[in-house]
Amino acid sequence: MSFQPVKFYQTGTFTVGNRLLAPEERSVQADMRRTNSLNSGHRACQGCGEALGARYAIDAAMQATGNRLIAANATGCLEVFSTPYPETSWQIPWIHSLFGNAAAVATGIAAAMKVKGRPDVRVIAQGGDGGTTDIGFGCLSGMFERNDDVLYICYDNQAYMNTGVQRSSATPPAARTATTMAVGAEPGNVFGQGKDLPAIAMAHGIAYVATATVAELRDLEAKVRRAMEFRGARYIHIFVPCPLGWGHASEDTIRISRLAKETGLFPVFEAVQGEITSVSKIRRKLPVEEYLRPQRRFAHLFGKTPRAEVIARIQRIADRNVRRYGLVDK
């Protein structure tokens, strides 16, 4: 028999760690010495996807930079639940200024580090979808355009959650929020063109753009690590479910992220200099219904008479993603 590399059927590469793997092949999160950048005691809701995504990303960035990292944070859930005065959960140098200026503050820090002759200290700006796609969009676009040496991470939970679930430009069509009630002829959020920020970032031609979900830890960590290999503006968009705002069980946070990817509604890919270089394929293709049904924000689609035409419209969005990004192996 010719040589056959041993595969770990039991765990594959999908679990966080694996006692059978060599230490260097394990994830940062499996490491007993991970930094726990976002520590216990924070006030995020049970099962918060954003808290999870932030620790995944910043722990990975800390490891990639040898713990020489400064983060600027936009206003939003992440800031509010982690740092109620005078306590903080952050175990890294961290600064919060305004809702819309995280990218600009980070730009300033990067410039300061340059002046001080500390190119080894890396800078991250982070915020939710509100602070990124709406309020901070101008600053962010400027940061991209000037190619400032900052990695911007957006934790996308698709609405303004900390103020009570108001819609943002990242809220998906038909989703119910406090400002897009499930009433009228077209209940929930409108079917607009959307505001596809990863694509907008790619259009700026910046060094590195990637998307990730909290369901795929290894993929997320690899992308943060990769982002840290570049200088200049970089952008990572992380899909983080919100049990409270989306109305799903707190235990289902990771399952919902997985479904978003497996239905094709959230394409996971990476792009260098504005061109897609790799795509995370769908492992088991599922209809969008599987993703929509467990979430109360879409409950109005599954009433006594299911809104088949709306579901079909959402399915078309997924199908277009599959086509556009080549998410399914032929």
Binding site: S40, Q46, G47
Partner: protein, 541 residues
């Protein structure tokens, strides 16, 4: 400390905020009973030994296996592996080839000369084991390890019982059996051959035994009345299989008819084929669904060209042919004669209609109960006579080697307790780790390049000894397909997926614990645990 304008408090860590108080549900680590362990008649901790095999520590795997079963190499060949039938992985792709890994471990132990750990210090008690079949050997092994002096009295000229006289060589090579028997005897067990016990009470008294375990098996072939011409050749299945072990092979002729529907019938038919019979036909009075033989054995026999005549009984036998009557199932599912006859060419007829137990040694033992030709025992394997225990084919149970081995272990534990004036109570089984408890997303599919190799391996490993079993790399593949149902295998998922860092990793081999000061009870860890080793319970409020 001087503070800036409008700042009155010192900065602090959020660790002061014990979010555990929010919790209404509480996660707990559990060990659930994997279906393989639950199904094993010998009570092996299969998931446990596969765990060691997965990391390539075959010695540790074998030792854990041997704690319950002293005959892994035998078992890896002849067991009907109910573990694989119940394996959760079957719902995913196909069951883990537990039996072939067991065989690999057994062979590895023989090859490397691994020996059992020495037993407990001597208790000074003497125990008589009657019969050196699987049940007797298993009991002797367990009793010896518990520190008792064990003497086996075997009626035959060699040890092994049905493993030697009932199982053909193509399923169990004799040197494998001998190696495993020798290892048991090396524990200090005394084996007396050609020592038939004709009266158990006398033997116990004569040898000053404190207790006895009877495992004489079932060796008397059942007969059926078949009108036969003087030239017709009618044999019984056990005699055929037994003579296979000797020098003079049985002369069965070119066309052999086997009468019966059990595993022995299949064994004889396959043996006949191997002896060169052009035709081996099994005549069975009922249908395939009703056949007591194991399905995979029937399948293998059919692949080897054995023919089976369903719904037929033998009415008459003559020198070169037999007459069969066709049967039909009645409303209750019982076969009834139809009056339709057929003639089949046959040089010999082998009867494989089951076996009875020779109970002569029990004559005159007070308190003993015999029903349906087998000895009745309690849940502790003790017969109606205090101090005399029984197991294997001579008590009511399925008659397989694995069940017999399980009886031996169970009886040994009860004998040990009884000698100490105690009652052995088995630890209660954990809750079952059913398929719905698993999160199978995390188990990757076997790559396409590997699957055919595995399939071939699995097929070969259940075939005859002409082909070898798994080699080390295959065994490792196979072991690593285990899902570790219900038992933590330290994949770090709970440690990773907790949004609150409320899982504490205790280090390799030490698993994890929850930090209830901060656990909010979201339940992600429980849902994302691949093997179902976390349970959520309502918090007492």
């Amino acid at each position: 400390m001087r503070k800036p304008f409008a700042i009155t408090l010192d900065p602090g860590s959020s660790l002061a905020n014990h979010t555990g108080t929010w919790r209404t549900m509480r996660p707990e680590y559990v060990d659930r009973l994997p279906p393989c362990n639950g199904a094993c008649p010998a009570g092996e901790n299969i998931q446990g030994w596969l765990y060691h095999a997965e990391s390539g520590d075959y010695a540790a795997a074998w030792r854990l296996l041997a704690q319950d079963n002293p005959l892994p190499a035998v078992m890896g060949r002849v067991c009907y592996h109910p573990c694989e039938t119940s394996c959760n992985r079957a719902s995913l792709d196909s069951a883990v080839g537990i039996n072939s890994v067991e065989r690999f471990l057994g062979d590895e132990a023989i090859r490397r000369g691994w020996r059992f750990d020495p037993g407990a210090p001597s208790t000074g008690k003497r125990i008589l084991v009657v019969g050196a079949g699987p049940s007797g050997l298993s009991a002797a092994y367990h009793l010896a390890r518990l520190g008792h002096a064990v003497e086996i009295h075997e009626a035959g000229p060699v040890a092994g019982g049905m493993m030697r006289f009932g199982i053909p060589k193509y399923r169990l090579p004799r040197e494998v059996l001998e190696a495993e028997v020798r290892r048991i005897l090396d524990l200090g067990v005394e084996l007396r051959l050609d020592a038939k016990v004709s009266n158990i009470l006398e033997s116990m008294q004569g040898g000053r035994f404190d207790a006895a375990f009877l495992a004489v098996g079932a060796h008397i072939a059942k007969r059926a009345y078949i009108p036969a011409g003087s030239a017709a050749k009618i044999l019984d299945a056990l005699a055929v299989l037994r003579s296979m072990d000797g020098e003079a092979k049985p002369l069965l002729g070119r066309r052999v008819v086997v009468y019966g529907g059990g595993n022995t019938a299949i064994d004889v038919a396959r043996t006949a084929r191997r002896l060169g019979a052009e035709e081996a036909i099994i005549v069975y009075r009922r249908t395939r669904e009703k056949m007591p033989a194991h399905d995979f054995e029937v399948e293998e026999a059919l692949q080897e060209g054995v023919l089976i005549k369903w719904l037929s009984t033998i009415k008459q036998a003559s020198e070169a042919s037999i007459t069969v009557e066709k049967m039909a199932l009645d409303a209750k599912g019982f076969p009834q004669p139809t009056g339709e006859f057929e003639t089949l060419a046959a040089d010999s007829v082998v009867l494989a209609l089951g076996q009875d137990v020779d109970l002569a040694l029990l004559h005159g033992v007070p308190g003993l109960e015999v029903r349906d030709g087998v000895v009745q025992v309690g849940a502790d394997m003790m017969t109606g006579r205090a101090g005399i225990f029984a197991g294997g084919d001579m008590v009511p149970a399925e008659r397989t080697v694995t069940v017999a081995v399980g009886h031996g272990k169970k009886a040994a534990r009860h004998i040990d307790a009884w000698l100490k004036g105690k009652v052995f109570s088995k630890q209660k089984n954990n809750e079952a780790a059913t398929f719905d408890k698993l999160n199978t997303w995390y188990y990757s599919d076997a790559p396409k390049t590997v699957r055919p190799v595995l399939d071939v391996m699995r097929r070969q490993s259940t075939f005859d000894e002409v082909v070898n079993g798994l080699d080390e790399s295959n065994a490792l593949y196979e072991a690593r397909r285990c899902l570790s149902c219900g038992n933590c295998f330290e994949c770090d998922n709970c440690y990773g997926v907790c949004p609150d860092n409320a899982v504490i990793k205790l280090g390799p081999g030490k698993r994890f614990k929850f930090n209830y000061d901060y656990c909010k009870g979201c339940g992600i860890c429980a849902v994302e645990c691949p093997c179902g080793a976390i349970r959520m319970l309502p918090e007492e409020i």
